[in-house]
Amino acid sequence: MLHIFRTEWLKVKSYRTFWVLIGLTFVSFFGVNFGAAEITGEMVKQSKGFITSVYDFPTVWQMMAIFGNYAIIFPGFLVIILVTNEFTFKTHRQNIIDGWSRRDFIISKLFWVVALSVFSLVCAVIFGLILGLMYGQNSISFEDFSYMWYFFGQTLLVLSLALLLGVLIKRAGFTIVIFMAYVMGGEQMLVFLGKRYDISLITLMPMQATDELIPFPTILGKAARNVSLYGSSVYIIATLVFIALLTYFTSRKLSRADL
């Protein structure tokens, strides 16, 4: 399997778009959270001790998970571009003609979902530590680090969705538009409507299930979000089921499609 990962690395190591999107991911993790830390820091100052910084340990992990959600759009674009490139250049056929099995090709694409999710997690942890030290008063703590694992699950889900859309649509531009429309608002509209008509199952939609696992910290959250309708375990299971389903449909499509 290592030779598959090495081959994927050969495909991207000189690819400018890859490095630009990796850079944007890195910068946006810091930028979004730095902006949020500045704003909440100002609120903390004005409250004169009534509220404490949310970018302090351990709530910093929760904040990194919440705002990291915006940064993972770039790894999503990257997954879409890497898979649709194969269809555009017909290299998916060439890889198989040269000796890969369809299974090898599927693994090579799932590799990016996992690798970019790990990269996003590492970015979130690094900047969590930096911002926690910059804006907090407590010493480093990994209490509530579970939010980072929820964030990892959310990233896996979003990137799995990006991969499936890329495999189904095959065109980078159109896939990115559909992906953004769904992730940035499409599902939220459905959830909004569902909640309005008391359809509790609507909170089990893919993006919403992971959002429910990562609420805003209490001092900000009560005003911003309803209390979750189900327990965390239900949302964790829903997230895992969606990841499994998205991976299954991607594998099924790639293993059966005419090359």
Binding site: H3, R6, T7, S14, Y15, F89, I97
Partner: protein, 221 residues
């Protein structure tokens, strides 16, 4: 065995060398083989140029270079000149000939009969999965000569030639007659025959039957 199926498929944003590194990695061959195949394909000087900057002929030569990784004894090329401009066709043709001269067995599938005749030693014609004919190219796609003749009075010329004892076939055109003969009758013999009968030819050309015509004869037989 190395294969080239249809069009060359490479990553446009990578160089020739980087694309071959990927092909070598998938095939499980050493990267040390890459300079050798690039040299054979005549792309050593352009190895660091991006694939998207290559001409059609260069792209196809890179695909053949990829097929040569691991130094296979047999190469299977499917329509290697398909979609190429005349320059690209000549480039690929010369490369295939040089590979054959170097001792490689090249099996080429093509619908371009002219290319088959120029490149191949042996040919097999397959129709609907059945082998119709195989053997040396000159034997399988044998093409009889015919002679095109013209004179001021075409009707009179036709009657003179029709009287020739070795005449095999005569087809009257608007300006010329297409005639073929048995028993090794040459153009010189025809010219002499017509002159003896008082007809001066103003047009005498030896032509070959088109490859397509020869192919149709084989496939319709």
């Amino acid at each position: 065995m190395g294969t080239l199926l249809e069009t060359p498929n490479f990553y446009h944003y990578l160089s020739a060398y980087e694309n071959l590194r990927i092909a070598a990695a998938i095939k499980g061959h050493s990267e040390e083989d890459i300079p050798r195949v690039l040299k054979i394909a005549g792309l050593l000087e352009r190895q660091h140029s991006k694939f998207k900057t290559f001409s059609l002929g260069m792209k196809q030569r890179l695909a053949i270079a990829a097929a040569l990784l691991g130094d296979p004894g047999v190469l299977v090329l499917d329509e290697p000149t398909n979609g190429l401009d005349p320059e690209g066709i000549a480039e690929v043709r010369n490369l295939i000939k040089s590979l054959a001269a170097a001792g490689k067995t090249v099996i080429m599938a093509s619908h371009l009969l002219d290319e088959v005749e120029k490149v191949c030693d042996h040919v097999a014609i397959i129709m609907k999965g059945k082998l119709l004919m195989s053997g040396a190219v000159n034997e399988v796609i044998s093409r009889e000569d015919f002679i095109e003749v013209g004179a001021a009075n075409l009707e009179h010329l036709q009657s003179v030639i029709a009287a020739h004892p070795d005449l095999a076939n005569i087809v009257a055109g608007k300006e010329f007659l297409q005639v073929s003969f048995n028993n090794g009758t040459t153009a010189e013999d025809i010219n002499a025959w017509c002159f003896e009968k008082g007809v001066k030819l103003n047009h005498l050309i030896i032509r070959k039957k088109s490859l397509e015509a020869a192919f149709f004869e084989i496939t319709k037989a």
